[in-house]
């Protein structure tokens, strides 16, 4: 309790200093880091930070036939463009946070990763222009070096600048901008290619347009860095950190439930992203659609997730029962693949179901890790899970391409259904394991709130220090960082903790 009054005095003193600084500031509101308009201008800049990244990630999917024809490659070679994006992220998941916190700093880290994305896309464009397939692959690899960590930097900026319930809106907006980037790519790349004519120069020209958008994102990274540095100087605060703590030895202590979640994650996502990469020709050939219509259908998963993710996040937050929602999402995805594989029902039906299901699984699956592991292990756990996810995507992308070449799309869909069945099996196994134990993964929201209150009472009775006084700010940022990737609304009790931690970050 004494500690509490001490921290309250410190906060009052800091607030008084802040009010003095704010009153002394001379400048327009838009330039005033103390003013909300300046923060939202910064938000606007950071929203475009990963726009280019998401735009160019699915360039191959939007121009599948053109890639194959102009570069004279088959489907498995085509899927290598996706595989090479994922391979570097198998390892970068572990070191990306460390690089930004200890080596480069957030600002230079964001600029470096944005530059890697831009350089990678430009190298791919040169490769396409010259008809050099190895150069295109090299560009995709360089792009992969920067892509995932740029998203980490974006989230860290968000946690550093915004607090409380604003964070939900910020994460939602960032996610929506990213999904808009993917959707825009699916719908405009073919018309851009056609505008350039045909052949290598057309493909190169289309990829150069993606490069220009990446340059724009790089400029946003530079501007964000300058604004952040300026704000840190004026507000007299420290630099944002990812707060990621990786301790590989913690892996030995992870429970079986975590490993099952890893299998669910890998087995589920390998049936979604590689499918989107290959689906364009599938829709054209099976349903006789023109490319523009097929592109629209292919973009629906992203469009729907931009809207459905926040909604499902709110739903899961309000109802709890993460594991049940996760299983339901997997079943719905399996159903959508079966619909596309075994029937000639309009593909819109299957893809819309897949879009909603994908959003639901994302909102329900990732937070479950935080329920089975202590906070100091979350960094390692999420890093490991992401590494496994990227490894799965890297390998399965190549296999999927080979299957299309040799056996066709029916076999490909069966392949994805088999992975979803594996994911479902692990989900069911996890469900029954959890039911035999404490049932924490499937608690309702009321049960979880009740448990949190009892935990809080217990910590007060045992005189444990408040979370804000030790490393809780950093751990909260860890939790928020990973939940923010899925635009999950922060639960009320955590938003209170965020206010503490974000306040420390801004006022320090």
């Amino acid at each position: 309790m004494g500690g509490n009054s001490g921290s309250d005095d410190a906060k009052k003193e800091l607030k008084s200093t802040r009010d003095d600084d704010e009153s002394n500031y001379k400048g327009c509101n838009l330039c005033n880091p103390f003013h909300w308009s300046h923060r939202f201008m910064f938000l606007f800049v950071t929203c475009f930070l990963s726009f280019g990244n998401y735009f160019v990630y699915d360039n191959p999917a939007a121009l599948q036939d053109q890639f194959k024809e102009d570069l004279n490659i088959n489907t498995s070679q085509f899927m290598l463009t996706y595989s090479l994006y994922s391979w570097p992220n198998v390892f970068l998941c572990f070191v990306g946070g460390f690089l930004m916190d200890k080596v480069l700093g957030l600002r230079w880290g964001a600029i470096l990763f944005a530059a890697l994305v831009t350089v990678g896309q430009c190298v791919s464009a040169v490769g396409a222009q010259t008809g050099s397939y190895p150069l295109v692959l090299a560009g995709r690899f360089i792009f992969g070096l920067g892509g995932e960590n740029l998203a980490v930097a974006q989230n860290t900026y968000a946690v550093s600048w915004f607090k409380g319930k604003e964070l939900n809106m910020v994460f939602g907006l960032q996610l929506s901008f990213s999904r808009v980037g993917s959707t825009v790519n699916m719908n405009i790349m073919k018309p851009i290619y056609d505008a350039f004519g045909e052949g290598d120069h057309a493909l190169g020209g289309a990829l150069w347009i993606g490069g220009i958008i990446c340059v724009f994102s790089l400029l946003c990274a530079l501007l964000a860095g300058w604004l952040d540095k300026r704000a840190a100087r004026i507000l007299k605060r420290g630099d944002g950190e990812t707060g990621e703590v990786i301790q590989l030895k913690d892996i030995l202590d992870f429970p079986v439930s975590f490993w099952l979640m890893c299998v669910i994650c890998v087995a589920y996502y390998v049936a979604v992203f590689p499918f989107i990469g290959l689906a364009l020709t599938f829709y054209q050939q099976k349903w006789g659609l023109i490319q523009s219509t097929a592109s629209t259908i292919n973009s629906l998963v992203y469009v729907i997730s931009a809207v459905a993710s926040p909604a499902f996040g709110y739903l899961v937050d309000k109802t709890g029962r993460n594991l049940s929602w996760c299983i339901l999402g997997i079943i719905a995805t399996l159903f959508s693949h079966m619909l596309l594989a075994y029937t000639f029902v309009n593909p819109y039906a299957g893809v819309i179901v897949m879009g909603f299901a994908y959003s639901l699984v994302a909102c329900a699956l990732w937070p479950m890790v935080a329920y089975v592991l202590p906070e100091h292990q979350l960094g390692t756990a999420y890093g490991f899970m992401q590494a496994l996810q990227n490894l799965g995507l890297a390998v399965i992308s190549m296999v999927a391409g080979m299957i299309v070449d040799d056996n066709g799309y029916l076999w490909l869909e069966m392949f994805f259904c088999a992975w979803l069945c594996l994911s479902l099996l692990c989900g069911v196994l996890l469900f029954f394991m959890d039911a035999a134990g404490s049932g924490i993964l499937n608690w309702s929201a009321e049960e979880r709130a009740k448990q949190d209150k009892e935990e809080e009472k217990r910590s007060l009775l045992t005189n444990e220090p408040e979370p804000t006084q030790i490393l809780a700010a950093t751990n909260q940022q860890i939790r928020l960082r990973y939940m923010s990737r899925l635009n999950i609304p922060i639960p009320k009790e955590q938003s209170v903790a965020i206010r503490h931690s974000a306040g420390v970050g801004v006022l320090k």
């Binding site: 056996n407 076999w411 069911v428």
Partner: protein
């Protein structure tokens, strides 16, 4: 790579030609064009190109005695239903011979001439062709960009033509010249093949049917099948020619991957390297059938102005008696289906039973404790 002019030969007997009158006549607006040739003293020949049946075909109808255009008509509704036979309604007592020809270009590429990877199949679209150079014995259709021309000649002599393709049951035979001028395609060391199907339709009904199939494991990425199906006047299936269009540049297709069936029933290859224009002929004859379907695959490569013989035959289609064979799912695919779904369903059922038993046990234990 630019392709030099290539010519596939046809040798036919030419009918005496005195004076020809050419009329362009469109009996079915927007659906078919007909070029009429009226020659005194010789059977009139008419060339029809169909564009309303979802598949471009070239048809020739010849009559054994002179007819005037006003004496016959075209059944446009039959055309719209996909029929390529009995579309031309001839005057009573007039014997006619109708033949249908479909043509498509098949493109290969690869590092050597021995190994070919299928690139694409382009069906020659009659919508882009216009009739030119009509004479009494032949009709030439030229693409609107003048890159491809197809010339058909009719052998009005009785008997089987000495050259290919062979029509076993018709008194007339066809030959087709293909002239490609300046056709450009992307692949290096590419080779082209042309597939021509001719049918003779004496008292047979031939219809173009299109169907879809979810199973593309034997023909990757291809779900639609087009069939030229002939039936006799009782409706019994006589013969078929079926193929699947190939996605442009989508897959690297091996020749063994194509839709191939009844290959054992096809005659041995009849290779005639003698001429400047090599030909590979695959023919099928069916005893008692009144319909002959002949598929000619002519393969040539671009080496200067000469066409060279190729060792590779493009099997883009199948031809055989009855209805086309539709392969079922492979055993491996079926087993994978059953295993995946079966194990999942089993896990649900087994786990549910386990959970019920667990809860019942806990309830019993709790009540006993109380």
């Amino acid at each position: 790579m630019r392709v030099c002019v290539l010519v596939v030969t046809a040798v036919v007997a030419l009918a005496t030609c005195t004076q020809a009158t050419t009329q362009v006549y469109q009996p079915c607006a927007g659906q078919a064009d007909a070029v009429l040739l009226a020659q005194p003293g010789v059977p009139s020949q008419y060339v029809f190109t169909w564009s309303g049946v979802g598949l471009p075909t070239f048809g020739i109808t010849s009559f054994k005695q002179p007819v005037d255009a006003k004496d016959f008509s075209v059944n446009c509704s039959r055309l719209a239903e996909g029929y390529v036979s009995d579309v031309v309604v001839t005057p009573a007592g007039v014997e006619d011979h109708q033949s249908t020809t479909l043509a498509s270009l098949i493109e290969f590429s690869g590092p050597t001439l021995d190994k070919g990877e299928f690139v694409r199949r382009t069906i020659l679209d009659t919508l882009t062709f216009k009739p030119v150079n009509m004479t009494s014995s032949s009709a030439t259709l030229v693409s609107t960009d003048n890159l491809i021309a197809v010339t058909m000649e009719v052998n009005t002599k009785s008997g089987i033509s000495k050259t290919n393709p062979h029509n076993f049951f018709a008194t007339n035979s066809f030959s087709v010249d293909l002239v490609i001028s300046g056709y450009t395609y992307n692949s290096t060391k590419s080779r082209l093949a042309m597939e021509i199907v001719t049918t003779t339709l004496e008292r047979s009904v031939v219809r173009i049917e299109q169907s879809r199939d979810i199973n593309d494991e034997y023909s990757p990425s291809i779900f639609r099948r087009t069939t030229l199906q002939s039936t006799d006047n009782t409706g019994a299936n006589e013969a078929h020619h079926a193929w699947k269009p190939v996605v442009f540049g989508n897959t690297t297709r091996k020749s063994t991957n194509m839709t191939v069936s009844f290959i054992g029933e096809l005659a041995a290859l009849d290779y005639s390297p003698a001429n400047t224009y090599p030909q590979h002929i695959i023919t099928a004859s069916y005893d008692g059938a009144r319909t002959a379907m002949n598929v000619v695959n002519v393969t040539f490569s671009t080496k200067g102005d000469k066409a060279t013989a190729e060792k590779i035959i493009a099997w883009g289609s199948i031809v055989g008696p009855g209805k086309p064979f539709v392969p079922a799912m492979s055993t491996t695919l079926l087993a994978t289906n059953i295993t995946s779904y079966g194990v999942t369903i089993f896990a649900f059922i087994a786990g549910s039973i386990y959970l019920l038993v667990l809860r019942a046990t806990r309830a019993t234990h709790s009540s006993q404790t109380v």
